[in-house]
Amino acid sequence: MIIERRWKKWVYFYIPMTVFVIGTLFPFYWMFITAIRPDAELYRSWRAANNAPFWTFHPTLEHVRDLLEKTSFPYWIWNTFFIAVVSTMVSLFCGLLAGYALARLKFPMAGTLGTSIFVTYLVPPTLLFIPLADIIRSFQLGDTPWALILTYPTFLIPFCTWLLLGYFKTIAKELEECARIDGATRFGAMIRIIFPIAVPGILSAGIFAFTLSWNEFIYALVFLSSPEKKTVPVGVVSELIRGDIYFWGQLMAGALLGSVPVALVYSFFVEYSVTGLTGSVKG
């Protein structure tokens, strides 16, 4: 049917879409409006006559300034960034090689191994941090970035491997066979032919790995204790909530600034990451 009734389009498309968009974006709006709202408005009684919870007439950058000057927030950003980048690179490297091997090389139990790698991804960090804490303590890595750089790959490598394994399988195997006949070694064919074609998949694995480690909370909470060593998610929560006092303005400013890099990375690579997840390369 070509001509749909107009109300159907509203009921099945526009209205659900609007609800969904508002539901998704409202927390960000709330975060933003709280970050720029002066304290006087923030801590005003809900029932006050001039209360306007959804907007403000006196926007201020005071919370952001406090966050940057009075807390260790710049350290947190740097720590998070450093840890996320290094652990993403390590995981991507391992995931690329493992994913390629599982997708292409013929060896016994390859399929089972692929599945079991994914299963390890499903072990919840809330269980895994107990044995990992023991290991970190034995190596005396507690309260250093290396504690996280070593533990994040425990879930990032399975994730990257699995995603890239799927992507490599969509690339015709004749391509590298042809490259091998053309004069490349297996490794050469992988580097020169398969990896360049897999760039969308590699990018999306990288983006997701970066986001996962940027947002990671449990391990960061357990393994880091000094205020200036913390990452953004942990630092914001542990340093800006003192006892039962919530520094809402700074909290939200911290959350806002903390999500900016991730948002930037996403928007930059969004097209790649979509094709990466949907796969398929056609000659």
Binding site: A172, R180, I181, G183, A184, K282
Partner: protein, 363 residues
């Protein structure tokens, strides 16, 4: 330029014995086609020559080297794949130059060779494009071009035309043949299409279930098939097979079934006499059956009823029944018959084939 020798070649996967004792000598500059139904081992054989599959048993020689343990890149071969396998992230030029770059050819020679090949194939204008901007036929040419720039000892083709539409396939077939005449390089070509096999091959190798059934020049396979499988596989429409009993009717040997009685031509009578009283399979090609005229001798003609009439323009295919036997006849387009009518047909006596019922070998 080199000959290729396959000696007792075998390939076993876990449970499947894909290629069985293949022995084949491909002469220098020869164009050999491996043909057979899917799963017959033809592609596996080709991939073993390429070095893409490990060899379970036997030897492969290219030129005067045994290549069993050489990686693909050291075998000096080029291969064209069914899906062309063009590198999607490279331009046509880079696709064609890749093999030469890997072999560290000087830049000006690479350029020269790519331009020459592009000119030969008429794809000079496409050199800067990416594969995704090309049509199926153009991709095919690029894939062939990528193979020929290397001047390899042997070309391997793995069903290169099967992704093209029918018209383009015929056109590329002619071009490939012309190209081979010009380049004079040994070529091994795999296809499941017997027409391609017959038209392209200097010699054709028919395979089934991992065994070579017959090796021969195209017309030899057509006129003297070694067994029932080859007889049925080569030629279109396929050869008619009728189960008959051999009888000795007062000196002349006859092949009979209910409603059909043909005299065995004298050339074959001697050998078939040994089958007296036994069943054999009679094979006759549709093009060797025609509408009987007064000139046709009675022992080679018989009455039939028409089941289906398929006019093709240049000819008419008649599906007919003769007693319990069903046959397809390829008759002149001028023949006027209707369904359910009876028509008297005759066979070309010297083109009758007989096959043993048990081992299916030609008698």
């Amino acid at each position: 330029m080199a000959q290729v020798m396959l000696k007792d070649l075998n390939k076993k996967y876990d449970e499947v014995h894909a290629v069985k004792d293949v022995n084949l000598h491909i002469r220098d500059k020869e164009f050999v086609v491996l043909v057979g139904p899917s799963g017959c081992g033809k592609s596996t054989t080709l991939r073993m020559v390429a070095g893409l599959e490990e060899i379970t048993g036997g030897e492969i020689h290219i030129g005067d080297r045994m290549v069993n343990d050489l990686p693909p890149k050291d075998r000096d071969i080029a291969m064209v794949f069914q899906n062309y396998a063009l590198y999607p992230h490279m331009t046509v030029y880079d696709n064609m130059a890749f093999g030469l770059k890997m072999r560290k050819f000087p830049k000006n020679e690479i350029e020269q060779r790519v331009r020459d090949a592009a000119q030969l194939l008429g794809i000079q204008e496409l050199l800067k494009r990416k594969p995704r901007q090309l049509s199926g036929g153009q991709r095919q040419r690029v894939a062939v071009g990528r193979a020929i720039v290397r001047h390899p000892q042997v070309f391997l083709f793995d069903e290169p035309l099967s992704n093209l539409d029918a018209k383009l396939r015929v056109q590329m077939r002619v071009e490939l043949k012309r190209l081979h005449d010009r380049l004079e390089t040994t070529a091994i070509y795999v296809t499941h299409d017997q027409v391609e096999a017959m038209t392209l091959g200097d010699r054709v190798v028919v395979m089934k279930d991992g065994w070579i059934q017959q090796v021969g020049e195209p017309m030899e396979l057509y006129s003297r098939p070694a067994n029932k499988f080859v007889a049925g596989f080569i030629g279109s429409p396929a050869m008619n097979f009728v189960d008959v009993t051999i009888n000795d009717a007062g000196g002349s040997i006859t092949a009979e079934t209910q409603g059909l009685r043909l005299t065995v031509p004298p050339a074959k009578a001697a050998t078939l006499r040994a089958y007296k009283g036994q069943g054999v399979t009679l094979g006759v090609r549709p093009e060797d059956v025609h509408v009987a005229t007064a000139a046709d001798p009675a022992p080679y003609s018989f009455d039939t009823t028409v089941d289906v009439v398929e006019p093709l323009g240049s000819e008419i295919l008649l599906d007919v029944r003769a007693g319990s036997a069903t046959l397809v006849a390829r008759v002149e387009p001028t023949v006027r018959v209707k369904v359910h009518e009876s028509v008297r047909l005759a066979v070309n006596a010297d083109r009758l084939h007989f096959f043993d019922v048990k081992n299916e070998h030609a008698i």
